[in-house]
């Protein structure tokens, strides 16, 4: 399936920026308008998780939980038992950071379609520092049977993903970022949970990215083109279950890949891709992300630079890796 239409025409332009959570807020409002069973639960972060749009429009279907993330997901589980579709929201550091066992037992093993939304994931949270920069949520969620793990690339996709989640019958986790990031997908194109999206065709190397790092992958592909390397860019908004077919097809062609994520590479998205490759088509893979570190306070862009998550930083690392591994 060719998803090149998914991408806007020219990503080298100065793109419009918006936070993923803003897209989520609009998506949740629409989901609530479409289905009266959609309810929203929040742990004292209604404004910053952008649930306020929904809360103002549907006050009876908005549940303020207070600062109690264990209660947040378990009340959600209970409501889903009566046919409700609960979106439960906090910062990712607290949910699923603090309440993992409750998610495991009462949502995953119990197979309830609760929609867990973790805002402020990644180091680009910025000045709040390491405690609030959730980097381990992907690994926490992707090891759970029944759980679907999602990371939108931009606010437009986050909006569409939220609507798709409301219709999905499985437990879902969606990770969101705080900062405004470039919008690189088209509003009119349909989003589905499951597929990986081929955004740029190339035969030399696969750049496999999730979340907002897909934008860095697109910029990187432009830089590499100037270096004489034609990179294929695959955007993976559904981290679990993985679109094995699309990913394997690409790496069988390029025989070398890098993964990009704003999370711990150990157990995270990079692990998911290397696990897949090592089982079905072993190739050299460089994982870009946070390598066994915590973040720290700083300006989001400074932090991305420091941790080597910008296209220009990745380009340097990639050339060394590419020249010693490309066959």
């Amino acid at each position: 399936m060719d998803y090149q239409n998914y991408l806007i025409e020219d990503i080298t332009k100065d793109l419009q920026k918006e936070s993923l959570r803003a897209g989520f807020g609009r998506g949740l409002l629409s989901a609530g308008e479409i289905d009266s069973n959609v309810v929203a639960l929040c742990a004292d972060l209604t404004e910053s998780t952008q649930m306020k749009l929904f809360a103002d429009r549907f006050p009876d279907r908005f549940v303020e939980i207070g600062i109690a993330e264990q209660n947040l997901v378990t009340v959600g589980s209970g409501m889903s038992a009566l046919g409700k579709i609960p979106f439960v929201t906090s910062y990712a550091a607290f949910s699923p950071g603090r309440n993992w066992e409750q998610i495991r037992t009462t949502i995953c093993l119990n197979d309830r379609p609760v929609k867990i939304v973790g805002s402020h994931a990644g180091i680009s949270v910025g000045p709040d520092g390491a405690t609030h920069q959730m980097l381990e949520d992907i690994v926490l969620m992707r090891t759970l049977p029944n759980m679907v793990v999602l990371a939108p690339g931009d606010s437009i996709e986050a909006q569409k993903m939220t609507l798709a989640m409301a219709q999905d019958k499985r437990p879902n986790y969606m990770r969101l970022a705080r900062e405004a990031t470039p919008i690189f997908t088209k509003a009119e194109y349909e989003f589905k949970i499951g597929p990986a999206y081929l955004l740029n065709k190339g035969q030399d190397i696969s750049l496999i990215a999730t979340g907002t790092m897909t934008y860095q992958a697109l910029v990187l592909a432009e830089l590499l083109f100037k270096d004489g390397i034609e990179a294929e860019v695959i955007h993976v908004p559904t981290i679990k279950p993985l679109d094995k077919e699309t990913i394997l097809k690409s790496i069988k062609k390029t025989k070398i890949a890098i993964t990009l994520e704003e999370a711990q590479i150990n157990g995270g998205f990079g692990s998911a891709i290397t696990e897949l490759a090592s089982e079905f088509y072993p190739i050299p893979i460089l994982r870009i992300g946070i390598n066994d570190h915590f973040g720290e306070s700083g300006d989001p862009n400074e932090l991305l630079e420091k941790f080597g998550l910008t296209a220009s930083k990745i380009r340097l690392k990639l050339h060394t890796f590419y020249s010693s591994n490309k066959t």
Binding site: G66, Q70, N71, V75, S77, G78, M79, A81, T105
Partner: protein, 284 residues
């Protein structure tokens, strides 16, 4: 208006206790004391209180029972079998490969269970979510009951839920705490003092009733009273004797988390079948 006579209810409770012993003996693992002391409360719930249909476990008008203390599930299984959810012979599959009767309850495996539990402290929150959803759905003729252990309320999640229930005035929810005073490591007041549970919940703006949890008639009356309380969630603090019905297990915390061996089971069953020596057992 009772469905059964006191004598008949006593027979149910005694059958449930016998089945608990036989299940645990066969399973060779599991918890004994809690299930035994809960037999009277489960009898009251399944035979007099709950609106339910053993032949149609997913009946849309049913009341919801959340078993928060999942380790005590043998009493729930034994009561469900007694009430006709499934044949009693299935009880002997407890904890075995392929059984619907998992060591800790799994909703997806056995129709009639409302949730999956084992890790403690999360049942009250789920019950609260259910009670709130019932209200949103305008299903005002249904109630949510949740059974918790006393040691379980060491868990912080319980107190998050307690605040939430009071804030939302969930008067369609009735919580029952099995106050048997034991947990795995010892007596609750030694492990982590809980008293006064009543004062604590009242401070959280709950309505608290106390009852002899081993007196079926009193339990029924207390739950009916709890149903009449409005604008507050109700806690029934049910004082029970751990291991109730088997003399050498009563009030002994070492029976919290282990099953009887065959000698102990024989002794326990003899006591239950003779009602403590008052009658002659037909098994003799």
């Amino acid at each position: 208006m009772h469905h059964y006579s006191s004598e008949q209810l006593e027979v149910f409770a005694n059958n449930i206790r016998e089945n608990i012993i036989e299940m645990l003996l066969e399973a060779k693992s599991g918890h004994t004391a809690g299930p035994l002391d809960l037999a009277d409360i489960y009898t009251a719930l399944f035979f007099e209180i709950l609106k339910h249909d053993p032949k149609n476990p997913n009946w849309e008008e049913r009341d919801l029972l959340v078993v928060s203390n999942g380790h005590t599930i043998p009493v729930c299984y034994a009561t469900m079998a007694e009430a006709g959810y499934f044949p009693k012979k299935e009880l002997l599959t407890l904890r075995k490969l392929g059984s619907r009767l998992q060591g800790h309850p799994e909703r997806l495996r056995l129709p009639g269970l409302e949730t999956t539990s084992g890790p403690l402290g999360s049942g009250l929150s789920q019950a609260a979510g259910m009670a709130l959803a019932l209200r949103l759905n305008n299903q005002l003729n249904r109630r949510v009951y949740v059974i918790m252990g006393d040691g379980e309320i060491d868990e912080g999640n319980v107190w998050e839920a307690a605040m939430f229930c009071a804030k939302n005035k969930l008067d369609n929810l009735i919580a029952i705490i099995d106050r048997n005073n034991i947990q795995i490591d010892g007596f609750t007041e030694d492990v982590m003092p809980l008293d006064s549970i009543k004062a604590r919940f009242e401070a959280f703006n709950w309505y608290v009733l106390e009852v002899d949890g081993n007196n079926i008639e009193s339990v029924i009356d207390t739950i009916i009273m709890a149903q009449a309380i409005e604008f507050k969630p109700v806690l029934i603090l049910a004082h029970t004797i751990a291991g109730k019905g088997v003399d050498f297990m009563e009030n002994n915390y070492s029976w919290h988390g282990k099953p009887p061996n065959s000698e102990e089971a024989k002794k326990a069953l003899h006591e239950l079948r003779t009602l403590g020596g008052r009658i002659r057992s037909e098994h003799q």
